[in-house]
Amino acid sequence: MTTLGPRRVHPAEILPWLALAALPWIAPDHVLLGSQIAILALFALSLDLLVGHAGLVSLGHAAFFGLGAYAAALLALHGWSEPLTGLAAGGLVAGLAAALVAPLVVRVHGLAQLMVTLGLGLMLHEAASRARVLTGGDDGLSGFDLSPVLGLFPFDLYGFTAYGYALAVLAAGFLFYTRLAASPFGYALRGLKQNPARMAALGTDGRRRLIQGFVVAAVLAGIAGALLAQTTQSVALESLSFHRSAEVLIVLCLGGTGGRYGGLVGALVYMAARDWLSALSPHYWTGWLGAAMMLTVLVVPGGLGGVARRLHGRLPRLHRATGTRVAAGGES
């Protein structure tokens, strides 16, 4: 019925976005946190294309996030301060790097794949920390200014523009993700996750689809990284670290894989919990985070999205459209 195909967007889905858009008026003190949530949600969405769709678990996804961040920051540092082209550059650099390593990553499966992505991520982190001339090493990059978004909205001290900008990019990424998931390409990726042998028998070039999926996910991650660099006007080496890769996996699993709201819900819950825990116990909040991760796996496998799906499955079938979503995306 709509261009979004079988996974059509329910009209009520506009409500959470309206709520997000109203944040600067509801809670003006929390727009910085809001920007971080939007960026993390976009990053998690990009990872979900791999984990939730292609069935490709990466422990080094931060590599592409960091590449995008450094690309955008370097561009701004060298005088090109237009934000949208900076985003595109971040995505492009990440995508090119992904195209370079994707054949290695899709060659292997399971644990070896985890390790190859982890190893590549660590290599990039190591390289970035050594290449001080380019990346500033452990100090990172900062001290660059950006021109107004679309020539209209200058970045302000309070982060209102940054928040609006991040939210708009997230919304665009969200629509892109939704369309991709409903496209033949999205179906091919999910098919490859469920049964690669059968997909090959159907004539799908699995290797090629996975490489393409890997590159698309990396582009999206690069855009998220560039967004972080632009909205905070700095890049830290941490944006390439294993910690960052682990964090986004946690976010995704918390929210649930394979559904379009997983990344957003996960980012929201994760950042809120992080904010709350780090205020409650500044030294040990990562320990509480770890405990929450363990509990998530033991108590709510499939994340919050999985819980929602199971609850939804128990309701009478009011919405056929979302009913098919349960069938198509309910792999967990």
Partner: protein, 285 residues
């Protein structure tokens, strides 16, 4: 190239530590398919037991070592029965998430209990100094580490090949369901090997304190190394882990010695190349 023998020696000693700390991970991975990223916590736990026993209770080094192994083994069996058992058969993603969470909990708990700083651990006098080995002067403790690593590897390999329990373990690695079908109590075997692996990690962790230092982030700092050893060696093999650990130790020490500007790059590169070449471990075609 006067440094070469020393580099080889240090690399091998470092590799033996890696072997002790990761062989348990290789076996649990092969036997239970468990991606346990928290395995390093057993090594760190053993390290803390040894370091604290020596510095606070005055326990001699040689007694602190078995103490550390025992403590880690007890921790292993308790955690296996309470937590890890629930993860067998779950997706790698769940396992990764759970065990990374456990590492975070460990770091916070260890920081709260022992402080964030390095633990002091001095070698006893009789293990310090150097010995002359055919014109090359090498650290005595390094020599002891290599000897111990080789001895443990031999014992494990013989145990796996020649004993009844070893045969049961090999059968379960090959096909756990079939092994259960011929009334091998796979669950109990899991617990046993997990405990043994944790104990060895504890021993390795205790031995590593004077060489690598020890702070609460130890399991995270060396996580990549453990995983590289296990993946390169192949899941479930002792020989593979041994060779991979030696190679990783050598390449890492040589890389940092001859090409300090590229740091750990060499060993990560080696790992990625090895994995792409032989995804199931270098010994498996």
């Amino acid at each position: 190239m006067t440094g070469l023998p020393v580099v080889v020696f240090d690399g091998l000693a470092y590799g033996m530590l890696l072997f002790l700390m990761s062989v348990g991970l290789a076996v649990t991975l092969g036997l239970m398919g468990l991606v346990n990223l928290a395995h390093g916590a057993f090594a760190a736990g053993g390290g803390y037991v040894a370091a604290l026993a020596m510095s606070r209770a005055g326990v001699p080094f040689l007694l602190a070592l078995p103490l550390a192994a025992l403590a880690a083994a007890v921790g292993g069996v308790v955690l296996e029965r309470l937590l890890f058992r629930r993860l067998y058969g779950r997706s790698p993603l769940d396992q990764v998430l759970f065990t990374v969470g456990l590492v975070y909990v460990w770091i916070a708990a260890a920081t709260a209990a022992f402080g964030a700083g390095q633990q002091p651990a001095d070698l006893p006098g009789f293990l310090q100094g150097q010995v002359d080995l055919g014109g090359v002067r090498v650290g005595l403790y390094r020599l002891v580490l290599i000897g111990l690593g080789v001895a443990v590897a031999l014992a494990l390999a013989l145990g796996l090949e020649r004993t009844r329990i070893g045969a049961l373990v090999r059968a379960s690695v090959e096909d756990a369901e079939m092994a259960g079908g011929v009334s091998i109590r796979v669950g109990r075997l899991f617990a046993l090997t997990f405990t043994l692996g944790a104990g060895l990690a504890g021993l390795g962790g205790a031995l590593a304190v004077p060489v690598l230092g020890l702070d609460p982030t130890f399991p995270l700092k060396y996580l990549a190394y453990f995983l590289i050893v296990v993946c390169m060696g192949g899941a479930g093999t002792v020989t593979g882990s041994f060779l991979a650990a030696a190679a990783v130790g050598l390449v890492d020490v040589a890389g940092k010695y001859y090409l300090p500007e590229i740091g750990a790059f060499a060993v990560y590169g080696l790992a990625v190349a090895a994995l792409v070449w032989r995804p199931n471990g270098v010994l498996r075609a």
